[in-house]
């Protein structure tokens, strides 16, 4: 399940945010602190998560201390879906 989510997120980031469809993003790769996803694109990512999984990420959570890789983000999504 987690893998399905990280794959979907990785695909979205590669295609829509980085515009490099062939780009592979590992589930443990840092995405925020590495500069891969900049602050202007964080809102995009939050909107995508909301549309795809029905899970809200508040704007105050859009920073490295909440998640910095896809496994962490997927964990957050799963935890909130179960509620």
């Amino acid at each position: 399940m987690t893998k399905e989510i990280t794959d979907t997120l990785a695909k979205h980031i590669a295609e829509k945010i980085l515009k490099q469809p062939a780009r592979i993003i590992g589930a443990e790769d840092a995405i925020i602190s590495s500069g891969l996803v900049d602050s202007f694109s964080l809102v995009d990512l939050a909107l995508f998560v909301e549309d795809t999984y029905g899970v809200r990420i508040e704007d105050s959570e859009l920073n490295v201390s909440t998640f910095d890789n896809l496994n962490q983000l997927a964990g957050l999504i799963e935890a909130r879906r179960q509620k």
């Binding site: 980085l18 515009k19 490099q20 062939a22 780009r23 592979i24 925020i32 602190s33 590495s34 500069g35 891969l36 900049d38 602050s39 202007f40 694109s41 964080l42 809102v43 995009d44 909107l47 909301e50 704007d59 105050s60 859009l62 920073n63 490295v64």
Partner: protein
């Protein structure tokens, strides 16, 4: 002619209990600050500067984030008679080493006498200060408390209108060491002229999320309201970028009338705000939302209008302005009673001959006016030999006004180059048509990303520090993104790699290194084999030729 301190003293006497600033920080209650509170906070900092032996007309650098400390210390320096200048705070994106190097460079050129920062950042600041530097005091804002405002002790009341009141450092790494020095007279001449053009009145409320280290944020979104007694609702740029709806909620809550935004923000708001964040939002109080500091696009206005018209946004409130720190701020402003004029011009005549003609059948280009000149500004459009060009011919914009910079601080070389016979050569291209200015491009290869100027040379230099990249073999340029409404940065570098995986690894390293050393996000990073990059016959990197080559490749691969 007045000075900052004289004006603030007047506010303290006449409107001490009027709210000057409503400060918004995500997760906290809004904080209203009255003039007497503002000046009590400022008095605390003025006293701290005084007891550290800081004198009038010495420079004080402020390294603080959005918050009361930044506002109080800014006006503390002003009433003390010192010269404040804001340096952006270290962000999580930027590497601390690079930040320290930038700060050291800034200290070297600007020669500040004091730096104000947080206790927890003090060590970082001290690490950038070298023995024998000008800095005599590092003041921690936590050590400063408000004091009863006492104008009889204000060194700022002894300033003359010609004295430099503030330094405005232009953004971009190369530009960092160039501080635009502005006098009291220049700032008030600008604010008087601009205020008249905007028909400022006592019902106005300005709402801003713009950073104060940028001219648009500092002048339009901070000094104009505070000095003119117009309430300011001020939020943090970091909060806004994560929650753009906050701007609209604040306009609705406080009946905001005026805001300034860079072009990309129109697209950003139109595309990234959910209906649920707009429940109950009423934007009918907005009388002007002014597009400034990057190329203005009619498509961006259209998207914004379309998205928010059901929330009370009135037709005809989106406007344009052409501005620069060297003129304090605004040079032109579109007529507030009409939509900014949009011209459909002949693309070929414009591209090839730099002549503006109405389109007649062929391919067209849509350009939006930046409006008419402020009453105190004169402009000439000149060719490369300095000859004045007629209407509807594109040339460099040259300006003169009574609100120009005193100098680039401690940079007589840069000052001499920029100011010729009292005229300032802007480096921007544009043309006049029907008494309105249309800005069409720039002379230098500056990339403007989200209102911030970025020098491609700086980014290229950084790529050479990445292992595997060939020295002198990389190119950076901007590419306009229709969806985002701003330019995005592309870097292409020739590198040592056997295969696609290897190239990807170098590309990732470039992305990370350049971003953490410039705080600029890169959109495309492409690592290519030897001899991809086009050079001119003199060995210089030809940015436009490389851009064209890259765009063609994108097109051929079906990505564009």
């Amino acid at each position: 002619m007045t000075t900052f301190s004289a004006r603030l003293n007047l506010h303290l006497e006449r409107i001490p209990d009027q709210v000057a600033v409503i400060l918004q920080v995500s997760g906290r209650d809004d904080l209203p600050i009255t003039y007497s509170q503002l000046l009590a906070g400022a008095q605390g900092f003025a006293n701290a500067l005084g007891s550290s032996g800081i004198r009038s007309s010495e420079v004080v650098i402020l390294i603080l984030q959005h918050g009361p400390g930044l506002i109080h210390s800014y006006f503390g320096a002003v009433i003390h008679g010192a010269i404040p200048s804001i340096m952006p705070f270290l962000t999580e994106k930027l590497s601390p080493e690079r930040y320290r190097a930038d700060l050291t460079a800034l200290i070297h050129v600007t020669r500040p006498a004091a730096i104000v920062t947080y206790a927890e950042f003090e060590q970082e600041v001290r690490a950038a200060v070298k023995d024998g530097d000008s800095v005599r005091a590092v003041i921690c804002m936590e050590d400063v408390s408000p004091e009863v405002p006492d104008p009889s002790r204000w060194g700022g009341l002894k300033c003359t209108p010609e004295n430099t009141v503030l330094l405005q450092h232009s953004s971009g790494t190369t530009g960092l060491q160039k501080g635009v020095a502005l006098s009291h007279r220049a700032v008030f001449n600008q604010l008087d002229a601009y205020g008249q053009t905007l028909e400022l009145n006592k019902n106005d409320v300005i709402v801003s999320w713009l950073p104060l280290y940028h001219d648009m944020g500092l002048i339009a979104g901070f000094l104009l309201p505070v000095l003119f007694g117009i309430p300011l609702v001020l939020m943090s740029p970091f909060d806004w970028v994560r929650a753009p709806y906050r701007l609209l909620q604040s306009v609705s809550k406080y009946r905001g009338t005026l805001s300034w935004l860079p072009n990309f923000a129109y697209n950003f708001c139109a595309r990234k705000i959910r209906d649920r964040h707009l429940e109950g939002v009423d934007l009918s109080s907005w009388r002007a939302v002014i597009n400034c500091s990057e190329p203005v696009r009619p498509e961006s206005h259209q998207a914004f209008n379309q998205r928010f018209k059901d929330y009370g946004l009135r037709e005809g409130v989106l406007h344009t302005c052409y501005a620069m720190a060297e003129n304090v701020f605004a040079v032109t402003q579109s007529d507030l009673n009409n939509n900014p004029r949009v011209e459909l011009i002949d693309r070929e005549a414009f591209m090839r001959d730099r002549i503006v003609r109405d389109v007649n059948g062929g391919s067209s280009l849509k350009v939006m006016s930046s409006g008419r000149l402020l009453p105190n500004v004169q402009i000439q459009i000149v060719d490369e030999n300095g000859h004045v060009l007629p209407e509807r011919v594109v040339g460099e914009i040259k300006l003169q006004s009574n609100c120009m910079l005193n100098e680039y601080y401690n940079r007589p070389d840069a000052t001499e180059k920029a100011l010729v016979d009292g005229w300032y050569l802007t480096g921007d291209f544009g043309y006049f048509s029907g008494g309105e200015l249309f800005v069409s491009g720039r002379k230098k290869d500056v990339i403007i990303v989200g209102g911030r100027n970025v020098y491609p040379q700086d980014l290229e230099m950084l790529t050479y520090e990445v292992p595997g990249v060939h020295a002198g073999r990389s190119v950076a340029f901007g590419m306009f993104d229709e969806e985002q409404g701003t330019e995005e940065v592309v870097i292409i570098a020739e590198g040592d790699a056997e295969d696609e995986m290897g190239r990807q690894k170098i590309a990732d390293a470039i992305r990370q290194y350049v971003t953490t050393n410039s705080a600029i996000a890169l959109r495309y990073v492409k690592v290519v084999g030897p001899k991809w990059i086009v050079k001119t016959s003199s060995g210089k990197t030809a940015r436009s030729a490389n851009k064209e080559k890259f765009l063609n490749e994108l097109k051929n691969n079906g990505h564009l």
